[in-house]
Amino acid sequence: MNRLIAGGLAAIAMSLLASTANAETLRVALHGQAGIDAFTPTAERIEKELGVTVEIVEYPAPDKDYMTKLLTELAAGNAPDLFSIPGASDVADMVAAGYLAPVGAELAAWPGYKDFVDVAKQLAVSPDGETYVMPYILGIQQIYFRRDVLEKAGISTEQPKSWADLLDRAKEIKAKTGAYGLLFPAGTSWGGGAFAEGFSHLIIGSSTPQIVTDDGKFDLNGKGVLDVFQFYKDLIDNDLMPVDPLLGPEPWVIPKYEMFPKGELAATTCGSWCYIFDWGRESKNPIPDVTTVVGTWADPGQESGEFVLAGLGAPWAVNAKSANLELAKKALLETGSVDNQIETAARIGNIPSSNAVQADPRFQALTELVPIQAAANHGTYLKQATGMSAVSEGVARATEALLRKETDAAGAQAILVDYVKQTLGDEAVK
């Protein structure tokens, strides 16, 4: 019976499709409408230059659902040829699983790569020393604050010198304006953001700035991790950070798109994209004259120092089992083009990795991003390792417990350590 239906369907399909074009098809997966819009011109260039048909596969947009689908298909061997990876912390695990094709040689031979900032190239290198991704854009993160709100209340807008200084500033904001003083993304519904847009800002300035040891284990029992959670706890206990919205679905909507533009939240971690996507011209609720009204601080260190956090923004990679491996690698190089970098930057507000963009008038038109791109050359970053996705989820769970006021800093650290041990095995944690 089933065979009969199958046969019938096949016959219908044959007759329907007898006249399709005969180019090779490259399947490309990426997430989010903005990402698709930004990629469309690149897809057209790939089609023209490589003589292939590019088919864009839209998976569910939230990073987690996208990854679920992508990993299921990678494991099954029927994944697209080329895909973007929303969370750079997943790359190391995907390499370990053998899903990504090595592209180090291709990148080295590609003339465009020499213009990339060093941070981008270093971030693209996996723990095994090989490169598997195209690091075409960077997320450059800092602390963004409402200059107008602070100045009006007579609060210093100077770069904070230490965590204590930053915390005092947040308390002063609360006392003088009533607004929330500082937001670090936290909790499980923010997904990878709790780690990449929150925890990371603090840990790089702590007494244990790297959580990956030389032998690839995770050093999570250190004092630095404890201090970071204590910082969260201080923010939450002093009511300096809006907690309730973070516990709901879409936790970023209320604080970032509503409270910050209204001045009810005076400072938050954010990436360069905030100038364009969250509060700039691509926003539904833009802040007028955003680059003057909203200023940036580098992340202060626990005691001293200034850090500009750099991470890969949704890097591209090639499916190791792609039927069109060589074509897909050529298309990957196309995603690293200056054109794609600028188009993506314009849509999403990430920072192009290539210094060559500075000479391009289209990039110079993105005035918000020009100084940040220059600063990217001094960015610092967190070392990656296999199992990073588990650490990211563990941080989300630990900060969720802090948000719900169910535990203290030591308890949060224990949640993180337990989760990582449970997921990766006891031996993964130092």
């Binding site: 399909a13 989010g32 596969v57 947009a61 099954a76 879409e250 539904k284």
Partner: protein, 300 residues
């Protein structure tokens, strides 16, 4: 007879009205929000009277979103699965009703127990099996199809193909459908068949001439319940489909729900309403079979 109790009975009746009104509001309120939001030019998360009335949201589902495709895909896969279920359960239900073999009892217990398996528990192995089948089908189709390979696999593939989804959806509905049909045939007297046997009719003729006409109400019940349950299934298309051309309504809804940083509630409500309507129609037909089916013919 109720003379003495009249005032009291009146009070009870009033109480019954109040209770029913409260329960009905509880049951209907979410639908009211959805219906209003779908025709509101500025729909919000919460219940409100539309700013201005518009069918723009519905138009957008079909014009800017792939609504027609989603709807067609849902209808095609679910109807195909329903037809499969009706045929297979019709044959199987007859066999189960008439057989006296040893395997009858274990089989009936078995499918009763299948109904309790949580679907997430079977997902990973199911995916692997379908993948193997898909690769097999792929190697069959590849030499025949040439450059149309992928397009054909979207029809006959087991992963990311119509055929796989239809078969899995149908299998999920089989246990209940088999029960319904078994119980139904139990109620069909054997006299008719025996008369047909005496006329020298073969098994196929018996089924065709006598049983199908008799079984129509049972098949209708089995088909309606299979349709509703397959129509509402969300996990299988979520896991099995990825090509945009194959997307179904629940996935379109789920995706629109999660797509952008700020949700477009009017559009969502319109998709949800479109998705809801066939389910409500099927349910209104199925309602009369609810009692006998819910008990799964357990007392059969």
């Amino acid at each position: 007879m109720a003379g003495v109790n009249s005032p009291r009975q009146g009070a009870y009746t009033a109480l019954a009205y109040v209770t029913l009104i409260i329960i009905s509001i509880f049951c209907l309120l979410p639908f009211v929000w959805m219906a209003l939001a779908s025709v509101d030019s500025n729909a919000q998360l919460f219940l409100k009277w539309p700013d201005s009335w518009t069918f723009d949201n519905y138009i957008r589902v079909f014009a800017t979103e792939n609504g027609t495709r989603w709807f067609a895909n849902s209808l095609f896969t679910v109807l195909s699965a329903t037809i499969l279920v009706v045929i297979i359960s019709g044959l199987g239900g007859y066999a189960l009703s008439r057989s006296k073999a040893w395997w009858k009892q274990p089989f009936l217990y078995g499918i009763l127990l299948i109904r309790v398996l949580p679907s997430t528990a079977l997902l990973v192995p199911l995916y692997k099996i379908l993948l193997t089948a898909n690769n097999g089908m792929g190697s069959l189709v590849r030499p025949l199809a040439g450059e149309n390979y992928r397009a054909i696999m979207q029809m006959v593939g087991f992963i990311d193909g119509y055929l796989g989804l239809i078969i899995v959806l149908a299998t999920g509905q089989l246990p209940l459908a088999l029960w319904i049909m078994k119980v139904f045939f139990d109620g069909v007297p054997k006299d008719y068949e025996e008369a047909a046997i005496l006329d020298g009719a073969t098994l196929v003729q018996r089924i065709h001439r006598v049983l199908i006409p008799l079984a129509l109400p049972g098949l209708a019940a089995a088909g309606l319940f299979a349709f509703m349950s397959a129509w509402g299934d969300f996990l299988l298309p979520l896991i099995l489909l990825s090509s945009p051309e194959l997307q179904t309504l629940p996935i379109g809804l789920f995706r629109a729900f999660l797509r952008v940083n700020e949700i477009d509630y009017g559009l969502l409500a319109a998709i949800a309403t479109i998705y809801l309507i066939p389910a409500v129609i099927a349910f209104s037909f199925a309602r009369r079979y609810l009692v006998q089916t819910f008990s799964g013919g357990v007392k059969g």
